[in-house]
Protein backbone atom coordinates (compact mmCIF):
# COMPACT_ATOMS: atom_id res chain seq x y z
CA UNK A 1 0.00 0.00 0.00
CA UNK A 2 1.54 3.28 -1.09
CA UNK A 3 1.00 6.64 0.58
CA UNK A 4 -1.97 8.55 -0.79
CA UNK A 5 -1.56 11.63 -2.93
CA UNK A 6 -4.06 14.44 -2.58
CA UNK A 7 -5.52 15.39 -5.93
CA UNK A 8 -7.60 18.45 -6.50
CA UNK A 9 -10.36 17.21 -8.79
CA UNK A 10 -12.23 19.46 -11.21
CA UNK A 11 -15.31 17.66 -12.53
CA UNK A 12 -17.28 19.00 -15.44
CA UNK A 13 -19.48 17.29 -18.00
CA UNK A 14 -18.46 13.83 -16.85
CA UNK A 15 -14.73 14.57 -17.26
CA UNK A 16 -12.56 14.63 -14.17
CA UNK A 17 -9.27 16.51 -14.24
CA UNK A 18 -6.83 16.12 -11.37
CA UNK A 19 -4.06 18.42 -10.19
CA UNK A 20 -1.65 17.45 -7.39
CA UNK A 21 -3.05 19.44 -4.48
CA UNK A 22 0.45 20.12 -3.20
CA UNK A 23 1.06 22.31 -6.25
CA UNK A 24 -2.05 24.42 -5.68
CA UNK A 25 -1.59 27.30 -3.25
CA UNK A 26 -5.23 28.38 -3.22
CA UNK A 27 -8.60 27.90 -4.86
CA UNK A 28 -11.07 30.77 -4.97
CA UNK A 29 -14.17 31.97 -6.79
CA UNK A 30 -13.35 34.20 -9.72
CA UNK A 31 -15.06 37.51 -10.37
CA UNK A 32 -17.26 37.62 -13.49
CA UNK A 33 -14.68 39.40 -15.64
CA UNK A 34 -12.01 36.78 -14.88
CA UNK A 35 -14.14 33.70 -15.51
CA UNK A 36 -12.99 31.21 -18.06
CA UNK A 37 -12.59 27.58 -19.01
CA UNK A 38 -9.99 27.91 -21.75
CA UNK A 39 -7.90 25.05 -20.46
CA UNK A 40 -10.90 22.74 -20.42
CA UNK A 41 -11.98 23.88 -23.87
CA UNK A 42 -8.54 22.98 -25.17
CA UNK A 43 -9.16 19.54 -23.67
CA UNK A 44 -12.35 19.11 -25.65
CA UNK A 45 -14.90 20.45 -23.19
CA UNK A 46 -17.63 22.92 -24.15
CA UNK A 47 -17.25 26.68 -23.72
CA UNK A 48 -18.26 28.36 -20.52
CA UNK A 49 -22.01 28.62 -20.09
CA UNK A 50 -23.74 31.78 -18.88
CA UNK A 51 -23.66 31.89 -15.11
CA UNK A 52 -21.45 28.80 -14.82
CA UNK A 53 -19.40 28.93 -11.66
CA UNK A 54 -15.64 29.34 -12.09
CA UNK A 55 -12.68 28.95 -9.81
CA UNK A 56 -9.11 30.11 -10.00
CA UNK A 57 -6.33 27.68 -9.20
CA UNK A 58 -3.35 29.57 -7.80
CA UNK A 59 -0.18 27.66 -8.67
CA UNK A 60 3.54 28.37 -8.58
CA UNK A 61 5.45 27.61 -11.77
CA UNK A 62 9.01 28.40 -12.88
CA UNK A 63 7.90 31.66 -14.51
CA UNK A 64 6.22 32.86 -11.31
CA UNK A 65 2.75 32.52 -9.82
CA UNK A 66 -0.16 31.82 -12.15
CA UNK A 67 -3.91 31.61 -11.89
CA UNK A 68 -5.68 29.03 -14.05
CA UNK A 69 -9.44 29.54 -14.37
CA UNK A 70 -11.53 26.38 -14.40
CA UNK A 71 -15.23 25.63 -14.39
CA UNK A 72 -17.03 22.80 -12.67
CA UNK A 73 -17.19 21.12 -9.31
CA UNK A 74 -13.98 21.19 -7.28
CA UNK A 75 -13.11 18.62 -4.62
CA UNK A 76 -10.07 16.95 -3.11
CA UNK A 77 -9.51 13.20 -3.16
CA UNK A 78 -6.76 11.09 -1.61
CA UNK A 79 -5.55 8.62 -4.22
CA UNK A 80 -3.01 5.85 -3.59
CA UNK A 81 0.16 6.83 -5.45
CA UNK A 82 0.23 3.37 -7.04
CA UNK A 83 -3.13 4.09 -8.70
CA UNK A 84 -1.70 7.07 -10.59
CA UNK A 85 -0.51 5.58 -13.87
CA UNK A 86 1.85 7.82 -15.88
CA UNK A 87 1.17 8.01 -19.59
CA UNK A 88 3.55 6.06 -21.82
CA UNK A 89 6.18 8.01 -23.74
CA UNK A 90 4.19 7.23 -26.88
CA UNK A 91 1.55 9.69 -25.64
CA UNK A 92 3.81 12.52 -24.52
CA UNK A 93 1.95 14.64 -27.08
CA UNK A 94 -1.20 14.42 -24.92
CA UNK A 95 0.13 17.15 -22.60
CA UNK A 96 -0.93 18.56 -20.24
CA UNK A 97 -2.32 15.16 -19.28
CA UNK A 98 0.54 13.33 -17.62
CA UNK A 99 -1.16 10.39 -15.90
CA UNK A 100 -4.47 8.63 -15.40
CA UNK A 101 -6.18 7.26 -12.32
CA UNK A 102 -8.22 4.28 -13.48
CA UNK A 103 -9.86 3.43 -10.17
CA UNK A 104 -13.55 4.10 -9.76
CA UNK A 105 -16.20 4.47 -12.43
CA UNK A 106 -14.97 7.89 -13.51
CA UNK A 107 -11.26 7.97 -14.33
CA UNK A 108 -9.21 11.05 -13.54
CA UNK A 109 -6.91 12.70 -16.07
CA UNK A 110 -4.01 13.97 -13.98
CA UNK A 111 -2.45 17.15 -15.30
CA UNK A 112 1.14 18.25 -15.18
CA UNK A 113 0.92 21.67 -13.53
CA UNK A 114 3.64 23.33 -15.59
CA UNK A 115 2.14 22.09 -18.85
CA UNK A 116 -1.32 23.04 -17.63
CA UNK A 117 -0.25 26.63 -17.08
CA UNK A 118 1.47 26.71 -20.47
CA UNK A 119 -1.72 25.44 -22.11
CA UNK A 120 -3.89 27.93 -20.23
CA UNK A 121 -1.59 30.81 -21.23
CA UNK A 122 -1.46 29.66 -24.83
CA UNK A 123 -5.22 29.93 -25.00
CA UNK A 124 -5.33 33.51 -23.75
Amino acid sequence: MTAPVDLLIVERGGVRLGVPAGRVAAVADLPPDERGAGLQQRLGQPPLADGERCFGLWVEVPGGPAVVPVAGRVSVAAVPAADIAPLPALLACAAPVAAVVFSGEAPVLVLDVDAMVAHARAGQ
Binding site: A82, A85, L90, V97, L109
Partner: protein, 144 residues
Protein backbone atom coordinates in the same frame (compact mmCIF):
# COMPACT_ATOMS: atom_id res chain seq x y z
CA UNK B 1 11.58 -21.75 -41.63
CA UNK B 2 8.07 -20.82 -40.49
CA UNK B 3 6.60 -17.60 -39.16
CA UNK B 4 4.13 -17.53 -36.29
CA UNK B 5 1.21 -15.19 -36.88
CA UNK B 6 -2.03 -14.48 -35.03
CA UNK B 7 -5.16 -13.82 -37.10
CA UNK B 8 -7.07 -10.79 -35.81
CA UNK B 9 -10.44 -9.61 -37.11
CA UNK B 10 -10.92 -5.84 -37.29
CA UNK B 11 -14.54 -5.19 -38.21
CA UNK B 12 -14.97 -7.47 -41.27
CA UNK B 13 -11.32 -7.72 -42.26
CA UNK B 14 -8.85 -10.30 -41.04
CA UNK B 15 -5.20 -9.36 -40.65
CA UNK B 16 -2.26 -11.41 -39.43
CA UNK B 17 0.21 -9.97 -36.97
CA UNK B 18 3.47 -11.41 -35.74
CA UNK B 19 2.80 -13.60 -32.72
CA UNK B 20 6.12 -12.58 -31.20
CA UNK B 21 4.56 -9.21 -30.34
CA UNK B 22 1.51 -10.63 -28.53
CA UNK B 23 1.57 -10.53 -24.75
CA UNK B 24 -2.04 -11.32 -23.86
CA UNK B 25 -5.50 -11.65 -25.35
CA UNK B 26 -8.21 -10.25 -23.15
CA UNK B 27 -11.92 -9.61 -23.39
CA UNK B 28 -13.55 -6.23 -23.88
CA UNK B 29 -11.50 -3.60 -22.09
CA UNK B 30 -12.94 -0.13 -21.46
CA UNK B 31 -10.45 2.58 -22.24
CA UNK B 32 -10.04 6.23 -21.30
CA UNK B 33 -10.01 8.79 -24.09
CA UNK B 34 -7.18 11.31 -24.03
CA UNK B 35 -7.79 14.77 -25.46
CA UNK B 36 -4.99 15.76 -27.81
CA UNK B 37 -3.81 12.22 -28.43
CA UNK B 38 -3.02 11.10 -32.00
CA UNK B 39 -6.08 9.83 -33.90
CA UNK B 40 -4.89 6.24 -33.94
CA UNK B 41 -3.64 6.24 -30.32
CA UNK B 42 -6.82 7.72 -28.85
CA UNK B 43 -6.58 6.65 -25.23
CA UNK B 44 -5.16 4.41 -22.56
CA UNK B 45 -6.02 1.25 -20.66
CA UNK B 46 -4.60 -0.05 -17.41
CA UNK B 47 -2.27 -3.01 -17.76
CA UNK B 48 -0.02 -4.46 -15.09
CA UNK B 49 -0.22 -1.34 -12.95
CA UNK B 50 0.52 1.14 -15.70
CA UNK B 51 -1.18 2.97 -18.51
CA UNK B 52 -0.63 1.71 -22.03
CA UNK B 53 -1.80 3.28 -25.27
CA UNK B 54 -4.78 2.04 -27.25
CA UNK B 55 -3.76 1.37 -30.86
CA UNK B 56 -6.68 1.73 -33.27
CA UNK B 57 -5.21 -0.69 -35.76
CA UNK B 58 -8.41 -1.02 -37.78
CA UNK B 59 -8.65 2.73 -38.19
CA UNK B 60 -4.96 3.04 -38.98
CA UNK B 61 -5.19 0.41 -41.71
CA UNK B 62 -8.42 1.92 -43.00
CA UNK B 63 -10.35 -1.33 -42.65
CA UNK B 64 -12.60 -0.54 -39.67
CA UNK B 65 -14.44 2.43 -38.23
CA UNK B 66 -12.55 4.32 -35.52
CA UNK B 67 -12.74 2.82 -32.04
CA UNK B 68 -14.89 4.73 -29.57
CA UNK B 69 -14.38 5.10 -25.83
CA UNK B 70 -17.34 3.50 -24.09
CA UNK B 71 -17.77 0.95 -26.88
CA UNK B 72 -15.07 -1.65 -26.21
CA UNK B 73 -14.61 -4.32 -28.85
CA UNK B 74 -15.11 -7.99 -27.85
CA UNK B 75 -11.38 -8.71 -27.69
CA UNK B 76 -8.35 -6.69 -26.65
CA UNK B 77 -4.94 -7.76 -27.83
CA UNK B 78 -2.06 -6.63 -25.65
CA UNK B 79 1.03 -6.36 -27.82
CA UNK B 80 4.53 -5.07 -27.34
CA UNK B 81 7.11 -3.61 -29.70
CA UNK B 82 10.50 -3.17 -28.10
CA UNK B 83 9.67 -1.78 -24.63
CA UNK B 84 6.36 -0.26 -25.64
CA UNK B 85 3.15 -2.13 -24.84
CA UNK B 86 -0.20 -1.19 -26.32
CA UNK B 87 -3.76 -2.48 -26.51
CA UNK B 88 -5.49 -3.27 -29.81
CA UNK B 89 -9.29 -3.47 -29.74
CA UNK B 90 -10.45 -6.28 -32.04
CA UNK B 91 -13.55 -8.23 -32.87
CA UNK B 92 -12.16 -11.77 -33.00
CA UNK B 93 -8.77 -13.33 -32.36
CA UNK B 94 -7.76 -16.84 -33.43
CA UNK B 95 -5.00 -19.11 -32.26
CA UNK B 96 -1.45 -18.68 -33.51
CA UNK B 97 -0.62 -20.31 -36.82
CA UNK B 98 2.78 -21.23 -38.18
CA UNK B 99 2.93 -20.26 -41.84
CA UNK B 100 5.59 -21.34 -44.26
CA UNK B 101 5.91 -18.09 -46.12
CA UNK B 102 4.59 -14.59 -46.53
CA UNK B 103 3.46 -14.11 -50.12
CA UNK B 104 2.91 -11.17 -52.38
CA UNK B 105 -0.72 -10.67 -53.35
CA UNK B 106 -3.79 -8.49 -53.46
CA UNK B 107 -4.12 -8.36 -49.68
CA UNK B 108 -0.92 -6.34 -49.56
CA UNK B 109 -2.94 -3.40 -50.87
CA UNK B 110 -4.04 -2.84 -47.29
CA UNK B 111 -2.05 0.01 -45.81
CA UNK B 112 1.11 -1.09 -43.97
CA UNK B 113 0.78 -4.70 -45.12
CA UNK B 114 4.03 -6.31 -46.21
CA UNK B 115 2.63 -9.52 -47.59
CA UNK B 116 -0.23 -11.95 -47.22
CA UNK B 117 -0.84 -15.38 -45.77
CA UNK B 118 -3.62 -17.90 -46.23
CA UNK B 119 -5.04 -19.41 -43.05
CA UNK B 120 -8.04 -21.74 -43.18
CA UNK B 121 -8.74 -20.62 -46.71
CA UNK B 122 -8.82 -16.98 -45.65
CA UNK B 123 -6.37 -14.62 -47.31
CA UNK B 124 -5.17 -11.97 -44.92
CA UNK B 125 -2.56 -9.22 -45.03
CA UNK B 126 0.39 -9.44 -42.70
CA UNK B 127 0.86 -6.27 -40.68
CA UNK B 128 4.09 -5.35 -38.97
CA UNK B 129 3.19 -3.70 -35.65
CA UNK B 130 6.54 -1.97 -35.36
CA UNK B 131 5.84 -0.38 -38.73
CA UNK B 132 2.33 0.56 -37.58
CA UNK B 133 3.61 2.34 -34.49
CA UNK B 134 6.25 4.12 -36.55
CA UNK B 135 3.56 5.24 -39.01
CA UNK B 136 1.83 7.10 -36.15
CA UNK B 137 4.79 8.44 -34.23
CA UNK B 138 7.04 9.10 -37.22
CA UNK B 139 4.78 9.52 -40.25
CA UNK B 140 7.68 10.97 -42.24
CA UNK B 141 9.49 7.62 -41.85
CA UNK B 142 6.55 5.81 -43.43
CA UNK B 143 6.40 8.32 -46.27
CA UNK B 144 10.11 7.84 -46.87
Amino acid sequence: MTIDVMPVQLSKVWVAIGAMHVQEVRGPLPWVALPGAPAHLPGVVPWRGRAIAVLDLGGLLGVAPPVQAGEPRPRTLIAQVDATAFAIPADTVREVHAVAEVQEGHATQVRLAHGQVVIGGQVMPVVDLAHAIAAITRPEAEAG
